[in-house]
Assembly symmetry: C2
Homo-oligomer: 243 residues x 2
């Protein structure tokens, strides 16, 4: 069923109004009065609606049922990735949204090859990728994509979560499954992965000192764009959000 | 450390010989006598070696230590995907190899848009993608990529495994975590996912009748190229191969 996001203020008294780009989209999809659609307020609530009238500028739909979006996980995960080169960001955003991320933030790590001043220019496009992926995968929120800043900002953000995982491919690490099995009831988490060249040992040390769980994900070396999705999937599985 | 695959017959009496494309690769990487490298027999055994001499045609290395490749999972998973369009196959191959697949096979399902006669032409390229991903991620085998044929061939292949998962996004399904938690000790598995449009209900019925576990992976709709990696990751996590 077609899925649209609108601000909550446009749903009043059993009627939903869509304007702008999404109204055009309804038009392009050739949805007709009488057809059903889902309108989401972007806060995790789905409005199952029946189309009343649709033209290019404005769409009106009758609200039939209001439900919590079943696709939203019970845990809000902030995915934090060392900024990679090129379109790897796009891949990370799309797959993380599908896998259930609440927020996707990039940051500057020592081994980043991509320039930290580039992200500002790309935020608009990144957010559109997140929105498209949210619609396609049936999400109830549009995950925010943003720039977390420097590595210390990431640590400060991570320690505010119920669980903070720092995925690192060498040295002393905790087994991911033991950490996750001791944290099945968490409501928020941070998942931190490195750029192409991984993290510097001093970055892992800082994470450890800050109380983050420095974890292994098996002995296979994952690409920087694969690691966030694998970590997120393990977390969703362990917290009962993959069944 | 640089990683190369050679046939077992080229390692004899404590000396490993590399010829052809991999010898050229050693040359390109400018590895010098005295430097260490890992040579893998492609059967899960790693030979830690020290380079003795290297020219463009032939490389000779002294074997220092023989170990089981730590990156190889304890369960051999055959990933079976309804053939998708375009380069989604490449993505599925690369990410499945990183995530620990033993074998990746495509097949024809009712809703496939891609033509089933195309795969024959692409097998060489697919296998090279698997080989590159195996080297990069430190795998001990090069997963085979192939064509499984029609849907009934997939069912026949799947029922020979210790566990066969059929990922389906609607209707009556078993929770993935319950199925996996009851199968932590398996040695082989099949993970079956659909093409772009998903499976037809009759295909899910056939899978159910054949004794496969028809499972959900949460309420988020995953793209056809995302589903295999997510399913494989859940399986690796549940069988203790992600820590």
């Amino acid at each position: 069923m077609s899925r649209f996001f609108i601000a909550g203020s446009n749903i009043k008294g059993g009627t939903a109004i869509i304007r702008g780009r999404d109204a055009e989209h309804v038009h392009v999809l050739r949805l007709r009065p009488g057809e059903d659609m889902v309108i989401c307020d972007g806060q995790g609530t789905d409005y199952k609606c029946r189309l009343v009238k649709a033209d290019k500028e404005e769409v009106e739909a009758e609200v039939l049922e209001v439900v919590r979006c079943p696709a939203e996980p019970s845990v809000r995960v902030t995915v934090l990735c060392g900024l990679p080169k090129g379109d790897r960001t796009d891949y990370i955003i799309q797959k993380s949204v599908e896998a259930g991320a609440h927020e996707i933030l990039f940051f500057h790590a020592k081994r980043c090859i991509a320039k930290p001043d580039e992200p500002e220019k790309k935020l608009g496009r990144w957010q559109r990728i997140a929105e498209e992926a949210a619609k396609q995968s049936g999400r109830g929120v549009i995950p925010q994509v943003g720039w977390a800043g420097e590595f210390v900002d990431v640590l400060n953000l991570a320690i505010q979560k119920d669980l903070a995982l720092f995925l690192y491919e060498t040295g002393e690490r905790e087994p991911l499954d033991q950490v996750l099995e001791a944290n099945r009831q968490i409501r928020s988490a941070a998942v931190i992965t490195g750029p192409e060249g991984g993290f510097e040992p001093f970055e892992a040390d800082l994470a450890r000192i800050s109380g983050l769980h420095v974890c292994a994900m098996g002995e296979r070396i994952l690409r920087c764009e694969t690691a966030p999705v694998v970590a997120l999937t393990a977390l969703m599985y362990a917290t009962g959000n993959l069944s």
